[in-house]
Symmetry: C2
Subunit: 399 residues, 2 copies
């Protein structure tokens, strides 16, 4: 019954499920409060109060058939215009509603743009470590995902290898900054150099290479770090944005694509992407949530809560002797495994009831991802357990 | 830039856009109230008050991180269980949450199940006239859609031709009852005979044939007609349901798949469909709306309003001499064109400021679709215009 293309995903799914079941088993034995689950990227900070207030206001102030009805497959014009103006205000861009396409979250946005541009066997490059779903998304349209190997010193993209990997069949590049799983924000210098390489290669190869920027973590940045706006660096850029993290609405599936005028065949791409959004079955982004985000453009989730978590966990793990770069964004630490096979390290953690994700799941073995979108108290309770793991490996703390 | 597969859709889209633009032009010249747009399937009856009340109640009573957060990719367990029990109560079925997969509307549900089961070149049968998006959905997964020609006497499926068209490569059949564009409800007799053919062919061919029932119009049935529940006729059935019409929530994109235990490899299919829902970028059905439909399982849109429209328009057109079977469900009339080329008839209608959709758009030339999900007043105002068209064609009314 199952399509051939789905079978590898089905097998892989069993592994994830096994891990999930094991977590539940641990919780049943030791009590949920004594199991430290750092494996999920599920925001624990609630949506700002303004969001639920905006929902109530929309219901009170806007007609029901309008709020729950069909609109253009690209979204309500006024919502798209408001988003465009907000971006222009923040980043000095020049977007209008004709550049904004509302989508069922960033995951759907990625699928929409990939469906719009990919032919079978087209290659899409990305940078390890990366969110493994990118592979599924590219495979959906019979494209081939190739990952540039990581620069484990800085976790900035390895641009030397990147340049070498761009070839005749390279149609697109996916970047993700602030990054899952490293928390790294791509710097102005990185993006300048990356854009230069892409422009050079476009000229050499004689066809456009689309830089797709997956930005669900844009608003989660710390220490005042700037998250550069990618369209300002490179013309053939498409942005995939989501409100999942910025407004803590991951279940609502609301986001947008930015398709700038500077993109090659911009208006054709916009129309085709709108059709892709329709025929892939989404039809349009959820209507009420479109109306809501228009009213919440200046609202932000409590980033300080994540920042507190980041400082506690990063400080705690460094003090215990773990090796990790300090993340500037998102809500993950990407920690070096004290032994080469990080899956064994994950097992050692699990013996202390700590659940973390092996770097192999991001095509970057030797590291583990620790999500700190959990309660502050969980981190406090978990640190003694991490200490036992550190002792087991003979790590020497900074203190 | 545009993928080869998207190009035909892009061309086709221009035609639809041209029609839409022409409608706007007419409205600009004659005033919107003097243009009779019967071309869209957009519910005009508002969502029942209970829906907006349920939204407020969910926000008041359920925790924000739960309401707006991630859940299983197949949906909240309690929502799925409540839907299963409601179906069991209404139709005497035996579903549980393990048979219900929440989707981003029925269009997405169709894509999810087709992605789950189709291999390239697999054939999917459907019955003309049919919703043309089915072709896009099947093509998304490199399947081939084949349409059984219509029985224009009854617009029940042409089962003789259907049986002949089932072959080695037939993987699935899509039905839609109550039907868009005919308004016909497939009868108990039709479904019994169809199921018998499918069982025979499954045995002959030695592989399952999945009957996919697209049911957005299930609750819109008139004159007390029964809309049979398909899983009771045939084991290898998957239902695609949507709340777009039953609760007038087309913009919200909320629906579900029913994957019954009786389906071949049911639990594998359910798991694979859940993965398909995730990797196609939907991830999950919109969370707040899931919580809402759980509270609105016994709520129904004002079907009587559509029924009044149906009686006025059907009676009016018959009285003018038009030929049309009386629809038992949905909100469309499928009217015979007074001349063989129904596109010319559409042009004649347009001269009277009436917009209708040619049957060719449903692979059934010689007919036009007239949507009556419009205001009662629009129909009243349009009847004199229809009368002028009837006179032009020398039609003789019943009176």
């Amino acid at each position: 019954m199952i399509a051939e293309k789905m079978k590898p995903l089905l097998n892989n799914n069993s592994a994830i499920r096994a891990m999930f079941e094991e977590g539940k088993k641990l919780a049943a034995i030791y009590g949920a409060e004594n199991v430290y689950d750092f494996s999920l990227g599920n925001p624990n900070v609630p949506a700002p109060d303004e969001v639920n207030q905006a929902i109530r206001d929309v219901l009170d102030e806007e007609p029901s058939t309008f709020v729950h009805g069909y609109m253009s497959n690209s979204g309500y014009e006024d919502v798209r215009e408001a988003i465009a103006q907000s971006l222009n205000h923040r980043f000095g861009t020049k977007f209008s509603q004709n550049n904004i396409l509302m989508t069922v979250g960033a995951a759907s946005g990625l699928n929409v743009i990939l469906k719009t541009i990919l032919n079978p066997k087209d290659e899409v490059l990305t940078f390890a470590p990366y969110f493994l779903e990118y592979r599924s998304y590219v495979t959906n349209y019979d494209g081939i995902l190739k990952a540039v190997s990581p620069d484990t010193e800085t976790f900035q993209p390895n641009l030397k290898e990147f340049e070498q990997m761009i070839g005749e069949n390279t149609k697109a590049v996916i970047i993700n900054t602030p990054n899952n799983p490293t928390g790294v924000v791509y710097s102005h210098e990185t993006l300048t150099a990356m854009a230069e390489i892409l422009r050079k290669k476009e000229k050499e190869l004689g066809h456009p290479i689309v830089l797709i920027s997956d930005e669900p973590y844009r608003e989660l940045a710390y220490d005042g770090v700037e998250v550069p706006y990618i369209t300002k660096y490179y013309d053939d850029t498409v942005i995939c944005y989501s409100y999942s993290k910025s407004l803590s609405l991951p279940g609502e599936r609301i986001g947008y694509l930015v398709i700038p005028d500077e993109l090659t065949e911009s208006s054709q791409v916009f129309t085709a992407a709108t059709i892709a959004n329709r025929v892939n079955g989404c039809v349009n982004a959820p209507s009420l949530m479109q109306r809501v985000v228009k009213r919440c453009l200046d609202v932000k989730v409590n980033v300080e809560a994540y920042d507190r978590n980041r400082n506690l966990l990063y400080g705690g793990l460094k003090a215990l002797g773990f090796t990790c770069i300090k993340p500037q964004g998102a809500f993950y630490l990407f920690v070096k495994s004290p032994e080469p096979d990080e899956k064994k390290f994950c097992e050692a953690c699990k013996k202390q009831n700590i659940l973390v994700v092996p770097g192999s799941s991001f095509e970057c073995p030797g590291y583990v991802r620790i999500s700190y979108c959990v309660s502050y108290e969980q981190i406090e309770r978990a640190l003694p357990a991490f200490e036992r793991v550190a002792k087991e490996y003979g790590l020497k703390g900074e203190n």
